[in-house]
């Protein structure tokens, strides 16, 4: 694996982590703390 490929893998992991953080944030605030307007 060359340097460019390693960087690409790291960035994909970063994107996956970001989506994971998004899921957590929406779960934490959206589903458990903020009321449902219904």
């Amino acid at each position: 694996m060359n340097r460019g490929q390693a960087l690409a893998y790291i960035m994909w992991i970063a994107i996956a982590v970001y989506i994971g953080v998004a899921i957590y944030v929406f779960w934490h605030f959206g589903f458990t703390k903020l009321p449902s307007p219904m």
């Binding site: 460019g4 690409a8 960035m11 994909w12 994107i15 970001y18 989506i19 953080v21 998004a22 899921i23 944030v25 929406f26 605030f29 959206g30 589903f31 703390k33 903020l34 009321p35 449902s36 307007p37 219904m38």
Partner: protein, 525 residues
């Protein structure tokens, strides 16, 4: 072009349904001054206006219209720095690592663009201060007094900010790499802290740090230090600041794309077309990156408002201003859809050549998924009542907030994966294709530029509406009572947005024409 026509039709239908159907049926035409009349009657007489109301001959909401116009337009110019500074820093760093001239050329153009338009942003800011003092003297006296120290910091940082960006442009390519980076970092940090200073004030209007304003003795501090800290570092300061930075980066990225495709259109030589095609793609990627950060920061911000100013949260989420949130998420959806269409169209030729049918298919799925998410997001939660909880209000089973959280997550994931595909999978291959921008991609970039700017103005209006009919929530009312209702009504704010956008975009384009670099014919991009 069918996809672009579809986006424009969807946009038109959305605005017509919102203004013709949802706003009237959610009480959006009724002022918060009328709805919160009982609360207003309990306002402390110390904070009622002592001077005669200064009218501006634009009807009962005239003063609010003045403030909305000057401050929302100011935000567009201020965001050139708040977002543009980080994009500029990225260009400097990319140039230092890659030594590709296009990064340097675009960086220098952006620096000069921001230097020239600095005065426009500062002029609108100064006009805003003047209007606040003239039209809301009691509020101005209290507010500018509480925030004297942050405002002093802000004023000082005006000078530091222009020093950094002007020096950066003036010395471009004439100083060492480390100095470029230092000036770029200094510029980005100075505007970041300048925005933080003004955000202490802006956020404090919505979530004041104290229940009332209590002054102490004359001196350097007009009230105890701990009280100042409560006012300045109030509960919504950091969510607002973070959300603003992300929104400004998104705005600036999409604006670069908008301006780049205009140059793509007016230049005929291939090197220039390759350069502006690349600049458009660069801008859209930044725009998308800033965009996918906003829902996360937005839900944090919403929670801070919910926890500390519940009535304001009700105004904008389950009350008569909820249509503004629908408009905002509708625009976010349209931005993700349009960005998807841009990449579908822009990369099609390359993907066919590379035999990557899987990516082509995935991008199409993303566009459809974003459209479905958008349909979920623009569902009104209820109709037929000012508040969702009103007896007789019809609850929309598709307007459940949980569905909307999932839809926002889908948009975030789509945006993040598109960035990944374009930057990582197609890395190194995109350079073979510059200069072949399709008409659909060209139009998509124009749409993102307009929507990316418009949404910034909507966000500012949402915050103002959430606060109405107060200037400092539940402390200082908008003076004049029922004779001068707030917020600015939906039709009038639409006109304000369009005038502000038209004015700002004219300034952006005419300035960009002067500051842009166009490659020479023999030069490779």
């Amino acid at each position: 072009m069918k996809k672009i026509v579809g986006i424009l039709i969807a946009f038109a239908i959305f605005i017509i349904v919102l203004y013709g159907y949802i706003i009237p049926l959610q009480g959006g035409l009724i002022s918060s001054t009328a709805i919160r009349a009982d609360d207003l009657s309990e306002a402390d007489p110390r904070f009622e206006e002592q001077l005669p109301i200064q009218e501006v001959d634009l009807g009962p909401s005239g003063r609010s219209i003045f403030i909305a116009f000057v401050m929302l337009t100011h935000i567009l110019f201020a965001n050139l720095h708040l977002g543009g500074a980080w994009v500029l820093l990225s260009l400097i760093i990319l140039y230092l690592f890659s030594r590709k001239e296009r990064y340097s050329h675009l960086g220098k153009s952006v620096a000069l663009f921001n230097v020239i338009l600095f005065s426009a942003g500062a002029t609108f800011a100064a006009a805003g201060v003047l209007f606040f003092i003239s039209l809301y003297p009691t509020f101005a006296a209290q507010g500018f007094h509480i925030y004297w120290w942050p405002l002093l910091v802000e004023a000082t940082l005006f000078g530091i900010e222009i020093f950094f960006v002007y020096t950066l442009w003036f010395t471009w390519a004439r100083i060492g790499a480390i100095w470029h980076v230092l000036l770029g970092v200094g510029y980005a940090l100075s505007i970041y802290f300048q925005t933080l200073a003004i955000d202490t004030f802006v956020s404090g209007m919505l979530t004041p740090g104290e229940e009332t304003i209590t002054w102490g003795e004359p001196g350097l501090l007009g009230m105890p230090w701990i009280d100042y800290l409560q006012w300045w570092f109030n509960p919504t300061l950091w969510p607002l600041q973070s959300h603003r930075v992300a929104a400004a980066i998104s705005f600036f990225g999409f604006l670069i794309a908008f301006l780049a495709v205009l140059h793509y259109h007016d230049r005929t030589d291939p090197p220039s077309r390759r350069y502006w095609d690349w600049a458009c793609s660069f801008g859209i990627l930044w725009g998308l990156a800033g965009l996918i950060a906003q829902p996360l920061l937005g839900v944090w911000y919403m929670y801070a408002i919910f926890a500390h100013q519940h009535q304001a949260f009700a105004n904008i989420m389950t009350g008569p201003r909820a249509w503004e949130m629908l408009m905002m998420v509708g625009f976010i959806s349209l931005l993700v859809i349009t960005a998807s269409v841009y990449f579908i169209e822009r990369r099609e030729r390359l993907l066919i050549r590379l035999g990557r049918r899987d990516i082509r298919r995935l991008l199409r799925i993303f566009a459809i998924a974003a459209a479905v998410a958008g349909l979920v997001l623009v569902q009104p939660a209820w109709l037929g009542g000012i508040m969702q909880a009103d007896p007789g209000a019809w609850a929309n089973p598709f307007g459940l907030m949980y569905y909307k959280h999932i839809a926002l997550l889908v948009l975030v994931a789509i945006g993040a994966i598109i960035i990944g595909i374009d930057l990582l999978v197609l890395r190194g291959r995109r350079d073979e294709e510059w200069g072949n921008l399709s008409r659909a991609s060209w139009a998509a970039a124009l749409i993102t530029g307009i929507l990316g700017s418009w949404i910034v103005m909507i966000m500012g209006y949402v915050r103002e509406s959430a606060r109405s009919p107060w200037l400092f929530y539940k402390i200082v009312p908008v003076p004049g009572g029922q004779t001068y209702p707030t917020p600015v009504p939906p039709q009038q704010i639409l006109v304000v947005w369009l005038i502000g956008l038209g004015l700002a975009f004219a300034a952006f384009w005419f300035t960009f024409r002067v500051t842009s670099y166009h490659p020479e014919r023999e030069e490779e991009v």
